[in-house]
Symmetry: C2
Subunit: 341 residues, 2 copies
Amino acid sequence: MKNRQWILTSKPMKLVTTDELELRTGEISEPGPGEVLLQLLFISLDPGQQVYMTSTQQNLPGGIVNVGDVVRAWAVGRVVASRSERFPVGSYARDLNGIAGVQEYATLHESTIVKVDPDQAPLPVHLSSLGMPGLTAYFGMLDIGRPREQETVVVSGASGAVGSVAGQVARIKGCRTVGIAGGATKCRYVVEELGFDACVDYRAPDFINALRQACPEGIDVYFDNVGGSVLDACLGHMSMRGRIAFCGAVADYGGSQPYAIRNYMAVLLKGLRWEGVNFYRYADQAPAAIAEMAGWIGAGQLRHREDIHAGLENFVTTFHKLFEGGNFGKLILQVHKDEDI
Amino acid sequence: MKNRQWILTSKPMKLVTTDELELRTGEISEPGPGEVLLQLLFISLDPGQQVYMTSTQQNLPGGIVNVGDVVRAWAVGRVVASRSERFPVGSYARDLNGIAGVQEYATLHESTIVKVDPDQAPLPVHLSSLGMPGLTAYFGMLDIGRPREQETVVVSGASGAVGSVAGQVARIKGCRTVGIAGGATKCRYVVEELGFDACVDYRAPDFINALRQACPEGIDVYFDNVGGSVLDACLGHMSMRGRIAFCGAVADYGGSQPYAIRNYMAVLLKGLRWEGVNFYRYADQAPAAIAEMAGWIGAGQLRHREDIHAGLENFVTTFHKLFEGGNFGKLILQVHKDEDI
């Protein structure tokens, strides 16, 4: 048995390509005491992977991808060999820390994985609403955004894996929820399927006016997934004592020249709180959050959408969809086309 | 009895001058029930006054200065007429909310003023360390910065009214304290008189390197009084989960084209919290803070320095000293040259 794996061959300066990545065949290491061998079935593709590959800052939360490493990724798999009583062969699990990797097999210790119940939701949903993106949205919205009933909550990347959950959590908490998304199709989905009160197209020429009209009393909570000029526009329209949960900056991940923020004085003049969302901070509280969100999914209150592409060999072209604005729903790589789950 | 007052005649677009201000003679209104007539003795000059004069945003905390208004200011005065039992004629008081104004007399309700004890500290100190600047520093550092023992705390404008207190509070709490100030004289004062561990000159050509050398393990708390490029440099050198108490942006108050922040991604990548400091949020807790700081002053732990200029007629030229980088210590206008306090 061989293990196909995507290896970083050099640090990218901009959006990673096959110039810096190579699909190699490696060995499979037999599980040691307390370890399991997972056959990966679905691999999560997330904008943060670009940061792990680009960054040279070794103390980044969760760790970076160094040259020679398998590309980091969250994944769901089936246990095919086990020296852990908690994870028998044939059961399903996902990793807790995004270390499973873009590969066919991963040998992981039982302390770094969590059981996945396919009856609770289909396997890919455990990488979207019930996985890292959903948990990031849940904790970022509730712990940093702290939305109060009737407040206006704006979410960028509103049709995406994180944004769709962030906005729906705010809606469930009784807020007026305004999405920001790219194009009419996504905006319609955000309002009609996800139940946001409004959605503004950031590509439209009158974006800033449309945003102001959708938020006549200002923005109390801004949950940001995109950074750059959209963040700047929202900063300029925050309410007094507003909160910004800064969760992603997909607009600035690929570029070597980052955007510069003009409206930063609003933090001072309006007494804002602007805080980075870090999934790892909340790891202990994840099981309770998963249970609550699974309940919302069951009750039809929390909608989800996955965008699944098959074939490990298609990792790079599929990953690029995150930055082209073309993907719609949580982007997931299915390792084998013919896998029947 | 007449009342000389500085009146805003038009909204300034940049640093206010006599083009937008006029010294006029107005009436004195007799105190009504619960009110006192204060003869103002010392008037606080603060960078925030520029914001109040420039801004057209009516819901700014504390209110803005509209055309025709007396310029807002904090002041200490002597009660010369009273219909309040709590404030007899001959006692001293200062206003709580910066509404006394740049004028000779102010009629204020007893609910908007607080007693001043000249035996606790000289009258001008009640506008510096024991006034709004000191309280802003105290609450901004402790409530937003939340410094822990041994952490590295950086304070810009370290020799100023707010910064000097912010840094000394951090020092008293057991932190390694690094100041940022303009020029060798101020830097020496910050280390030798205020007891900071180090001070970096932001005007020096190697400022960013010097800052990094002074903070080899990164910045855990940054207390910012200046904004602009100094803030950007500190953002680029924050530690994981660092806190930024954003208290002032004197570098950006005068200009019509604000600085744009390049290192904003650090908020995301390092999980920072960046929050605006708003004095008014803590008004209820001010008496306890004043008592604690008066104790530190008495024990020689909290040093202060005032820069007092005489003559109400000199308001504009004196106010400009705040933006020229030339003033040293809390800038205060003494209303009458010959006043003997």
